[in-house]
Point group: D2
Chain length 374, copies 4
């Protein structure tokens, strides 16, 4: 009865405190889903509102996205009665349809570099080689479904979350776009960039690199507007700390910064500090280097976060790796369906996670009511 | 009885899951302290081991640190019996001695730019103007005390956490130091840099900028050696996600990245992916762009994180701000005791938080036993 | 934007710490389900093992159970690969089939005494009158599915949980049954009593009372065998405290006691205290008034808990109540499908919750491995 | 590095969700204390208000209480500024003064029956024989300090919690007292009974039994008045489930019931169900067998809980036990300072835990504001 192994577990598939999502599902099993608990009752909610968000991350929508054909049709199994939330858990799922596990059979013992095959294998004693199982980006469907509900909730306090692509490989968005430009343009091109011309350049660069059998990464900016001051719980549940956890947990994200972020080390205090002024009898900030957060608490200015997305791990150029079945070194070129750049599809996921965090804080203290009036 | 306010609260002063720290204390109240719960029993622990770590963040140690004189003498009030932990909560505190609240009286309604005065005031209805209360960097004493115990625990699985300063203002450490250099040198100079010559340059830059009444920031690298593969709980409690939360929660930290971090967007997949090889019959990685984490799970390679520290908010050059008592715009130059660059004092705090996160994961699954043998 | 309501929410549909179940579903919506997180990987698990447990609580099995015909066919949607758990969340559900909401339409504004109609209505702003929604006993399907997996896990440390009916109305089991009698008999009669003759008397009493249009209650004893010493986390997560929460959360349960329980107030210390003896070189207890728990930690003796089940709330005799739509007093006799005594169907639920609590503690510290060997 | 032990740990010294207490301290170490997190800011709080509650559980107050002389002087170390809570953690402690560890030295290997010596030893590898360490009833000082703050908070929504002794050994309070009688009388006699004559009989019975070197137990009733409808989070955080956990976690408590509790199994549905009526245009209940809770949610009626307290474990009559140092059977009569009946001292602890649970729920949703107006 003595256990001598040492692969260490705790639950990790729930997120949030008052509003809590519990996600489940793998790439090549029956479905992916999420249970939302702590929802207010009486919230009007339509299936289409969730479907719309899920559609934004759906694969197969452009030439720079995996051709896996998934309808990703959302189903709601509980928690809704006469078109309104009941306050009981909202259970949602999407069945996996276009599951093709065959291509994975022949590489089932080959560790794909950059993927989680090896670490899952060490931790769990095997890995679900069929698309990576739980480590597949497919789990983000759950995040987007939860985020869609969070966005709906945020309409009550008037908070809006918008993410957009600001860099692809070496192509950066030069000028800072206005909110209007972001809103107007960032959903109208496949790379999700606010500037149509830059978007074209980004598309070309993705395809150029993809043409060489390789992949590229990018940067996503997340902005939240209308965030009231006072959100965030020092000292360990600061707003930025919780957002950092939420955003870094997204597959492929390798860094996060707020406001001036990694530029701040080379700034002076006199440059970094946002001066206070009085306008129309109200205290306002003259700048927003803090990214809308001071001492872990929202300031009332727009919330600004930025995340680094690594290049897609699956590439067709040959890579050095190992076959852990035969324990020998092999070369691997991954053919098949994968995105040459995952950044555009991270955009809706980053929005979802940010919206969820904000909704959780708002529920915690009454900015979103525990029960909506009839 | 109807409440119409909306300043939203949840508890935020505990961190960790199996091993849990609950911190308390303000800059100008009686003490700061921490309660550690979930500790294994039978761990040999000496007061001096904790004192030693606390001494590393203590103010007043060099010309680039606040002259506030705090002995910071650690006391253990519970949880230790005959020199060993009992498995019951370990309660530790440090009394505040050199508390001088007078200089704060005259600026008690003036919002110090870059500080949390304003957000605390909005959230809690007032702010403890005496040194910032809970938003003061003084709360990090609790983190360091908890981290000292975590480091002791990590000796069991053989994990070592080392942080060091790699950038101050525009002065960067050029070459990547060896672990030995970091260990040998980074505690022997006030800026906590692994290269003595760069350390000198950094010191000079800090003083130059301070001489102009201004402040500067920096970058801290954190390395964890001996981390076994398998730590981290997908999908929301990934190792990097939890570390990001821990590190961003440190005062003044504005960004965090892992491995190639913000460089990865401009890398190709073929450059980013760490190839696998077989050496002496074991699977190894040829590089470590992942920073020791794949899919949120440790790979067995060194864990590499990097954090951006903003310039100290308190500066003596005049800044534009407001007096919220009289609701008028004022100019503020902050005289008094403050660090011209907080980066070196973030180093032990970053070590503490990283050690704590790792110890928590190790306890969760038995890498650190729930009870040490006699 | 100011919220003046005051119906207070937090999430409440998850249970457990390392092993965590998140349940969802209502009586008259599409399905009921549960997500299990924190499961070890490599556990062999068959759908039939879960189905078997669910079948034990299924309605329509005898003349003393509601004639609602539910197949209650369990489906597993994630977390299982090649017949073994993957370590990722296990998502299970049962679709509702025999849903007949019509009888509820006419009483939709009438508060059924003893049910949660009124409190749900106050809390959530409405109540799902179709069978009580989330407050229906149907939610216990989720508990039983989770408990079935917990039972499978407990085979590893060799723990067995058995519940049985010891009282129905005024008919009590006179003699203390042996474990063998409980195991042999308590699944072979509809009331789940270990003594066949008493079972007959119980059946008769239930029917007698039901014949008068009324309902009755009962007492369920829960025994756990093979519980190793050391489970339980003082001072707030004591084994008995957590079990009490788990058992009281079951619908219709109004009390819980451990060991001598409510008899202990009238015992002397010299009677209550279980003496220690040495047998075959081992410390043993001479009695078990503690119910296997001292100071909130398991002693190694059988765990003994007892719960009081109130009479079924739905009865056909006329009751005084109100119609909250027309705000007038009415008489209500509830015809339709309901159990005249719910005690026998609480038995598998009590087993499930107890097994789940024990499995959670065992996982926390390695008694159940985080990963099963191949 | 392989761990083969199996004494399983998780943290257990925190309680509450939005409002959270983290307790620490042992009987014979320096102090016992508690950290309260999640407190609203702006709450007026005096040290004396906490001291007053702590005094009610203080030992040495009458002939039926241990003569250990503890001043139990409360100190507040953080979280209070200008007489009001700051919203930061409130850290409180009581130093242990009259610590006499000598009598324990000679019985340090002897397992005291009924105490947690043996289970602590098994779990943690040793036990703090000096008064039981953390398993000592002394930990309840932390509960009472936290409860005092909770009671203060509950004044805002107008909730009052009162506990009183209703049975000592075989002496029961015959008639149900009015709230006024409970309030007037239950603090005016050492047994904390609402009826002075019964109190006298109870005192005599305690002393009679104590005179024979033995101990007795009792029953404590807890009533909460002014509880608004709507508190409680189905299905696992039902109000009664969380209260059951809170109350069973109190040392010496072996059972808990709500409303009709263990009487309900022998009631009919028609007797148990509380009829609804309309009075002055409001829905009211005609009886309160539910104890103020339906479906895990408060009904608005008084909350009624009842707990069974076992006889004090320390008795001077000889008991059979073992010396685990020499592994031999011995007889043990415990002389020294102990209460012959602990029930009266459980009264303030039961009040404290109940108040804490209610305050937590009230904070969760805004019945107690996150910030009190000036």
């Amino acid at each position: 009865m003595i256990y001598t192994g040492r692969r260490y577990r705790m639950e990790g598939n729930s997120f949030g405190r008052c509003l809590r999502m519990t996600a489940w599902g793998e790439s090549h099993q029956k479905a992916v889903g999420v249970v939302l608990d702590g929802l207010p009752s009486g919230l009007k909610l339509k299936l289409e509102e969730i479907q719309e968000e899920v559609d934004l991350r759906r694969p197969g929508q452009s030439e720079i996205s995996t051709p896996r054909k998934e309808e990703d049709r959302v189903e709601i199994l509980s928690g809704l009665f006469q078109g309104k939330t009941t306050g009981s858990p909202l259970s949602m799922l999407v069945y996996n349809r276009d599951v093709d596990s065959k291509p994975y059979e022949k590489i089932k013992n080959i560790m794909r570099p950059g993927h989680a095959d090896y670490t899952y294998r060490l931790k769990y004693g095997f890995h679900d080689y069929r698309g990576g199982g739980r480590s597949s980006g497919r789990e983000t469907v759950s995040r987007v479904m939860a985020g869609a509900v969070a966005k709906k909730l945020l309409k009550h306090p008037g908070i809006k979350v918008i993410a957009h692509t600001t860099q692809i490989a070496d192509v950066s968005l030069e000028k800072t776009p206005s909110i209007k430009e972001i809103e107007r343009n960032s959903r109208s091109n496949p790379v999700r960039c606010s500037d149509p011309e830059t978007a074209d350049l980004m598309m070309k660069r993705i395809q150029e690199i993809a043409g060489a059998g390789d992949s590229s990464g990018g940067i996503v900016d997340v902005v939240a507007l209308g965030v009231p001051p006072g959100l965030g719980d020092p000292v360990y549940n600061k707003l930025d700390a919780v957002l950092a956890k939420a955003l870094i947990s997204i597959p492929a994200v390798k860094g996060v910064e707020f406001g001036a972020g990694f530029k701040s080390p080379d700034m002076r205090g006199s440059q970094m500090n946002d001066p206070y002024r009085i306008t129309n009898g109200k205290v306002v900030f003259e700048s927003n280097n803090s990214g809308g957060i001071l001492g872990g608490i929202s300031t009332g200015m727009p919330l600004i976060a930025r995340i680094a997305v690594k290049p897609t791990s699956s590439i067709s150029v040959k890579q050095k790796t190992v076959d852990v079945g035969r324990m020998e070194e092999v070369d691997l070129g991954i053919e098949g369906r994968h995105d040459p750049n995952i950044t555009p599809r991270v955009v809706p996921v980053a929005e979802a996670m940010t919206a969820f965090v904000l909704a959780d804080y708002c529920i915690a203290g009454g900015l979103i009511p525990p029960r909506f009036p009839k």
